[in-house]
């Protein structure tokens, strides 16, 4: 079973977490056309490879956190609190959605 190193609680079994989707979605209520909004609702990159995503530590601290995981072997490269920058070794982008 996957271990997720919660930045608030430390390493925990993945069964304590709920997967909260790919990072990087942008929600634009004011200006989206129907097609754009439904792309926001339904489309995913769904890559085979490294993916930035969010988790909710539902059976722990109940915080949203962000991670980078390889979907081929489930290796988790890093985990940070939601909204904090990704470790600089891998990216310079914000992890927040």
């Amino acid at each position: 079973m996957l271990v997720i190193d919660c930045p608030y609680c430390g390493p925990r079994n993945s069964t304590e977490f709920r997967h909260a989707g790919e990072a990087g979605k942008s929600r634009d209520v004011a200006n989206s056309t129907p097609a754009e909004w439904r792309r926001y609702l339904y489309e995913f990159n769904n890559p085979l490879g490294w993916v930035r995503e969010h988790w909710f530590h539902s059976s722990g601290c109940r915080r949203y956190i962000s991670s980078e995981r390889h979907t081929g072997n489930n290796e988790v490269r890093w985990v940070v609190p939601f909204g904090t920058p990704a470790p600089s070794t891998t990216s310079d982008k914000e992890t927040g959605a």
């Binding site: 996957l2 271990v3 004011a30 969010h54 909710f56 949203y64 959605a97």
Partner: protein, 933 residues
Amino acid sequence: MSASGNWRIAPQPGEVIDRSQKVNFTWNGSPASGYAGDTIVSALMASGVRVMSRSFKYHRPRGVITATFFDPNCSFQVGQEPNVRGAHRMVRNGDDVNAQNAWPSLNFDIRAANQVVGRFLGPGFYYKTFIKPQKLWPAYQKVLSTFAPGGAPPAIGTPQEIFDKRFVHPDVLVAGGGPAGMAAAIEAARTGAKVILVEEEYELGGHLRYGGTESLATLAALRAEVASFDNIEVLTDSVVSGRYDDNWVGVVQRSGIWAKERMIKARVGTLVVAAGLIERPYVFEGNDLPGVMLATAALRLIGLHAVKPGTSAVVFTANSTGDEAIERLRAAGVSIARVLDARKGENVTRALGRGQVSGVEAGDGSKTSADLLITATGWTAPTSLLNMAGDRPVWNAAGARFTPSELFHSSVMAAGGIVGDGTTAELIAHGRAVGIEAASRARGEAAKPVAALIPDAHPALFQSTTVGFLDLSEDVKNKDIVSAAKEGYDSSELAKRFTTSAMGPSQGKLEMVNTMAVLAEATGRDFQSTGTTVWRPPYAPISLGALAGRVFEPDRVSPMQLWHEAHGAKDMVAAQWIRPEHYGNPQAEALNVRSNVGIIDLTPLGKLDLHGPDIVKLLNLAYTNTWDNLAVGSVRYGVMCAEDGVVMDDGVTGRLGDDHYLMTTTSSGAGNVWDWLEMWLQTVHREWQVTITPVTTALVSINVAGPNSRELLSRITDIDLDPAVFGYMKVRQGTVAGVADCIVWRIGFTGELSYEIHVPASYGLHVWETLLEVGKDLGVAPFGIEAQRILRLEKGHFIVGQDTDGLTQAYEAGLGGLVKLAKEDFSGKPELVWQEALAGNYSHLVAVETVDPLLVPAEASQIVENGNEIVGRITSSRMSPTLKRSVCLAHVPASLSTPGSRLTIVLENGDRAAAIVREDLAFVDPEGVRLRG
């Protein structure tokens, strides 16, 4: 072949039987015996039993091959338990042991006739036959299914045995308690690491246990060293079943505990795989006859159980283990009729005999009489756990076996024979080195390589020149693989699937390499490109009971549940909650609410306590309606939609103070809503200050409903209930039945004047009983969920998930009035903007009256047009005790949504019934007079 003779020999130095304790059991109904420490198979062998079962497809008599857990034809029915591994399971007093797969008896099996027609039963036989006539296939199939192998399932009503689970966090877990595994555990422990050493058999030692006196001396020293470490936990009769992501390791402990089996789940620092080697059978004609066995099987029977496996043996040997077997057989009193040495180019072509070996034909055509044929033709490394960690083993041509490639994760290491060969001392030295490194890796230090053992040169022996069995549990022959390849099933996966080789209970441990070898030869490819097949978990079969463990399924109940049950409540299961559906007569309960007063336990209602200055912003975002102007002391109903505009949840939220609100949700949606609100707060509006505390079970919720509810409540509260000051949709806090800090609000799901009281949970029962006590003269009675469903339907109130489905957006649910599109933002807004623009051109939730007032169409009855064209459905229906007629809610298309529209409903029996769409959703009190009274 019934039990005959005594095959027990003089005490052996390493024997594990206790000759002072006789064990009595039955074998196919006849009395049999053995000693404590005997396996079922060793006890039977000691009594002269040679045929242990009949084979799956051809029903050929089969005996002992490996004398280990995975001996393919030594599975028995023991009492109610099927497929017991008889060469592993210790025999116990009173065991009722029966052969499997034999009908009517082991010695006379009618289906052995399959042997005669065997030439037609080639691979893929079923795919090629019974095609026509199609109508007869079910009949054929019924017959075929009676041929299913294995034991009988436990009878219905067989009591569930107790299984358990345990969690451990060792630094090092060693899979395999042979010399290398023991050495690894010792050295890891010496560094201070917490070590678990897992051994599949009943004692540590591996092959040393059935080796010579020197082996036994080494073993004694290793055991003493293991025992000297408090930080080594030894688990025998236990097996590592799998290695999963992040070194999550499953261990099944089969004995030595109070439960029948225990599943141990270990989060392991470093997993050391020291699984040793599995001896590989050889494929030749008659290789499945009882009397043909592996050298290690003979060594085990003699060394561990002091059983002589035969009287006269031919030994086909290619290695030192075969050579050792010759000596040990001789010492046990077995005469060696002939030795065939593969290293000198000698070969075995046939085992002769019917039902039992009577002779052996060598490669040169010569025949030797014997009742035993021992083969020692090579080894298979059981790399299963390494594969699960990412390894892809490579073919070592010189050693004629696959070896680990070291591609596996650095948190896993391999030690001992699985890696390569060596003297006992070398295996131990390798184990020690791996143990030190394993502990170091577990401490987080960088991985360093450990010098590998190299497999000794070994002749490549897989099959002789004759046709024999490749897979003894599936009855697949070498020629079947060739046929499969010729037919085009020529990749390893296709050949395996087509012939079912390696798909049976032994899962490839014995037959995988031979299957690959035969296929490689048949297709002219080399071994490596023919490929290895992925060993899938578990490494050894695990009982469903061990996987399940004890069931800890939480029951959620209100503090009044015992009261309910004592007062005739019929319970219903609503996800985790168990709650009263009714107390005997839901129609009467509902009527009592309309005419007097009823109380219902609504504790499962989701309740979230909200604090903070930005609650209004959150409510405006979560609900479709507006929350800007809710005064302290007021409550409001709201609907939540997901981002796709689909109705998600609903409930009442009340303002208790300036920055303090209590939100209620549906019972089943409570968890989701909480998570979802946190999502908005933590990921979208992180600047908002709101704290959410779930108080569902901290508060007991009681709804007091009916015309007498005010009078009833007034008798036990200090809250002023005067409607002029405590009107509809208001909330007050005060004392109820002497309990301070109760929250009371006026709402009306039932359509009646009603007060919902939220009481600190530990006082719930007190308040409940007080209400019943003081309201006797008012006709107070409890009502259950069913009565509430009737009441709300009479009032035309919808239920999320029943009157809506996974695609129902707010306007379709008739909730347009609660959607405030003028708000800047709320969940689902864009979709609802577009739905609103459709100007009613979507399906509608409407109230429906059947023309026949006494007809109650079942919920989910379909509404049709033009014959069978489905246009809508009844979502809720009940007989109304108030109106004495049926009341329904339905989804209908826009064209049928105007009041007075005539609907055609299809009843369960196929009849059609007419119904009319009503003006108003509410059947009872559409003006809301009762509610607001």
